[in-house]
């Protein structure tokens, strides 16, 4: 029995069109009355219209999601919409609506609606609201578009739209130098990944003359199985896969291109929520998940993805422990959690990775919006100037706690299910043989690689529990550390609170919901998310319905144990004060002798190392500065000596020549006539004695 009287899947493009219409309308109204300051019916109207279009898009996305998952299954449109035809090359796009893309459509539009509603209250005191709204509308259009299209070229276009919007929105307060610099950093660093994406597109089109996902994947997977692909085609696929991962590394902020994401905190908190939960960073995970059928053909690539993910997870988590800016803690936790998703993808746990993507989207949107509420209430982002907020901001505290439980991996809360699934797939990743790393520099058996990834993942799970609750306790527990005379902490207005409450329901129960569904029908989530080309490849964790097998998994126990230990450690340190964080980090405290301080040099060095973000920013600046200076000197030489030399030389030559010829123009007409006759004679002589003999004429 059909769920709905009509098949909505071919109309999925409307979900992209709706936010696009919102963008165009708000942009037009921005142009019409550029000087709209804060508030007023004109601005409110734009906000309401924007929220309305995304909400409509959410409803449609949800219906399509239901049709794909419950009713009709995946849909790939037959006739693509043609963009341009150049000779024999037809560029266009169709729709690729399967379990993965319909799930993302729903998550993206749903969270965007929540964030937009929240913005109406959070951004109310800002100027330039039209600019804010049309930029987030375009951002959402970009993400929705990237998810529904069926080929790499259009995905790349929407991907670039997102790159532009992230730049614009991070630099929303562009008159602030740090915001302008963060916007440029985000744009340039993700641009490195974008270039890789373009390489992949060129390689794939060159080899196979199509960019459509299903055509490419079917052709390549069948060709690899039958061994009919030429060696250069196999190389093209391998490199394209690596380049796509490179693109994802840039967009999803993985090591070594993770440096832009923490700085992206310079934008409004709602923008951070949009970038971290719904759009942008999820695009990298999506494109990698989408490409997994061809990535899975090369275990070396998978190993690289897994090890990069595991290392990034660890690196980001260690930095999250030492930062004091509440948004930066969340930013590093995003990097860390995205890295878990890449671990899942790299060890072929596609279902687990997407499960984590979904859970992370909900709880990270909640946490960011919660931190926005805290910032709204206290006027600061520094956790050292918060504390004791749980009585004054009750709703914010409880919802933030819900998100933190999920992030920290407390049993039965959504993040716990998916994180454990990812770690379990990592433990079971064993393609056999030996992994050979980038350019053959690293070699290790896959068992060692899997163990390394698992160990890093487990350690990170413990650190995650610690930094999450460090954040909760520093912000909401203890005594107020702000100036109570000056700062009047207040709970946020109703639209913000309502969004937080709705999101906290999803953050708490999205995992349970999926688990409940798999109790009814085993592994239904994996079944829907995983492309049929991959079904025999991916690792599927047994459904919790078979609870004995599920509970017999040692990874589950280990990760739960370390996460809870991390939470307990944070409780003892930041809630009870039994352990002094300064003592552990070897930092100076009042009433402490210099001898004791000197003894803690190693700990202090480690703390400084983490605080300096592992020196990545420093390294980038050094490499970029040195490389840049050399390149600039070289280009300067080319520009000033070679290019300018050529153009100036031509000018000087022409000038000197004309100075000579000028003498001939003496103003005496009969001399001109002489030149004419002389030229004619010369022409005739040339024709007769030079041209004619050569051509063989008379």
């Amino acid at each position: 029995m059909a769920l709905l009287p009509i098949d909505l899947r071919p109309e999925a493009w409307v979900t992209v069109l709706l936010p696009a219409v919102g963008f165009v309308a708000i942009f037009a109204s921005y142009l019409a009355r550029r000087d709209t300051g804060r508030g007023g019916w004109w601005t409110d109207g734009a906000a309401v219209f924007g929220v309305g279009t995304i909400a409509a898009s959410t409803v449609l996305s949800f219906l399509i999601f239901l049709q794909v998952w419950v009713d009709l299954g995946p849909y790939v449109s037959e006739r693509p919409w043609v963009w341009m035809q150049l000779g024999g090359v037809t560029l266009g796009t169709g729709l690729h609506i399967d379990g993965l893309s319909s799930l993302l459509m729903f998550i993206v539009s749903f969270l965007s609606t929540g964030i937009a509603v929240y913005s109406t209250a959070y951004m109310h005191h800002e100027g330039a609201l039209h600019r804010y709204y049309f930029e987030i509308m375009l951002f959402i259009t970009g993400m929705m578009g990237m998810v529904v299209v069926d080929n790499y070229l259009f995905a790349f276009m929407f991907w670039e739209i997102m790159g532009l919007c992230s730049y614009l929105l991070i630099g929303y307060w562009y008159e602030k130098p740090s915001a302008a610099s963060a916007a440029k950093k985000a744009f340039l660093v993700t641009r490195v990944g974008d270039v890789f994406f373009l390489f992949a597109i060129i390689l794939l089109y060159n080899a196979f003359h199509t960019l459509s996902y299903h055509e490419l994947f079917e052709h390549i997977v069948a060709g690899m199985e039958a061994g009919t692909l030429a060696p250069e085609e196999v190389a093209a696929v391998k490199w394209a896969g690596l380049f796509i991962f490179g693109a994802a590394v840039g967009k999803s902020a993985q090591f070594p291109l993770h440096v832009w994401l923490p700085d992206a905190m310079e934008g409004p908190t709602t923008v951070s929520a949009l970038i971290h939960a719904a759009t942008m960073v999820k695009a990298g995970v999506y494109i990698t998940a989408r490409t997994l059928p061809i990535l899975a053909l090369f275990p070396d690539t998978l190993g690289l993805i897994a090890i990069v993910g595991a290392f990034t997870a660890f690196l980001a988590a260690t930095i999250a422990v030492v930062v004091y800016d509440i948004k930066r803690v969340l930013a590093y936790s995003t990097i860390s959690q995205l890295a878990y998703m890449f671990v899942g993808l790299g060890t072929l746990g596609l279902g687990a990775a997407i499960f984590h993507l979904m859970n992370h989207a909900f709880f990270k949107a909640l946490l960011f919006l919660g931190s926005g509420s805290v910032i709204h209430g206290t006027g600061t982002q520094d956790m050292r100037r918060m504390g004791g907020l749980r009585t004054k901001m009750r709703v914010t505290y409880l919802t933030f706690l819900a998100g933190s439980l999920s992030l920290a991996g407390i049993p039965a809360i959504s993040g716990w299910w998916s994180k454990d699934e990812i770690l379990t797939t990592a433990a079971r990743f064993a393609p056999g043989g030996e992994w050979s790393g980038p350019f053959g520099l690293l070699h290790m058996p896959y068992e060692v690689l899997g163990t390394t990834v698992l160990a890093l993942g487990l350690v990170t799970a413990g650190i995650t529990g610690f930094y999450t609750f460090r954040m909760v306790f520093m912000t909401f527990w203890g005594k107020p550390r702000y100036d109570e005379e000056k700062v009047h902490v207040h709970e946020s207005p109703a639209p913000m609170r309502n969004v937080l409450v709705v999101l906290s329901v999803f953050a708490l129960f999205s995992g349970l919901f999926v688990v409940a569904a798999s109790v009814i029908e085993p592994n239904t989530f994996e079944h829907h998310v995983v492309d049929e080309l991959l079904e025999h490849e991916v690792t599927v964790i047994p459904a919790p319905s078979d609870y004995q097998a599920y509970l017999a998994n040692p990874v589950l126990w280990a990760s739960t144990f370390v996460a809870l230990s991390g939470v307990l450690l944070a409780y003892m340190t930041y809630a009870r004060g039994i352990i002094s964080a300064e003592a552990v980090a070897g930092l100076p405290r009042p009433g402490m002798g210099s001898a004791a301080l000197a003894g803690n040099r190693a700990a202090r060095g480690l703390h400084a190392f983490f605080t300096a973000k592992w020196g990545m920013d420093w390294l980038f600046l050094k490499v970029a500065a040195a490389g840049d200076a050399g390149l600039a000197a070289f280009l300067d030489f080319i520009d000033r000596r070679v290019v300018d030399g050529a153009t100036y030389g031509m000018g000087r030559g022409a000038f000197a020549g004309s100075m000579l010829l000028q003498r001939a123009a003496d103003g005496i007409v009969r001399n001109y006539a002489t030149w004419v006759v002389g030229g004619l004679v010369l022409l005739l002589v040339t024709l007769k004695f030079v041209v004619a003999p050569v051509l063989g004429g008379g």
Binding site: A664, G667, R670
Partner: protein, 100 residues
């Protein structure tokens, strides 16, 4: 009967004399006369070829050429008169406002 060559030599001689007048003389009137000589050298060739080939086309062309030459000369002399009125000279070495 006079051979065709003679006419051609005569025409070439006329052309060179005309050319000399155009390129070497300073007086505008003499330059115009030189142009006339060159034109008539061409006319002489046309008529000579027309006669030797028995083709009246050359005669027609020469007649048209003479008419055009008359008109051209009228314009040239008129310009010479205007130039004299303005500059009190028709010496081309003095009329050198075009010099670079």
């Amino acid at each position: 009967m006079i051979p065709l060559d003679w006419y051609l030599y005569a025409a070439a001689l006329l052309l060179v004399i005309g050319l000399f007048a155009v390129t070497r003389r300073q007086n505008v009137i003499l330059i115009l006369i030189g142009i006339e000589l060159m034109l008539n050298a061409a006319n002489l060739n046309l008529i000579a070829f027309s006669y030797y080939r028995g083709d009246p086309g050359g005669l027609v062309l020469a007649a048209a050429s003479i008419a055009v030459a008359a008109a051209e000369l009228a314009v040239g002399l008129a310009i010479a008169i205007i130039v004299f009125k303005n500059y009190k000279t028709i010496d081309t070495t003095e009329l050198n406002a075009l010099h670079g």
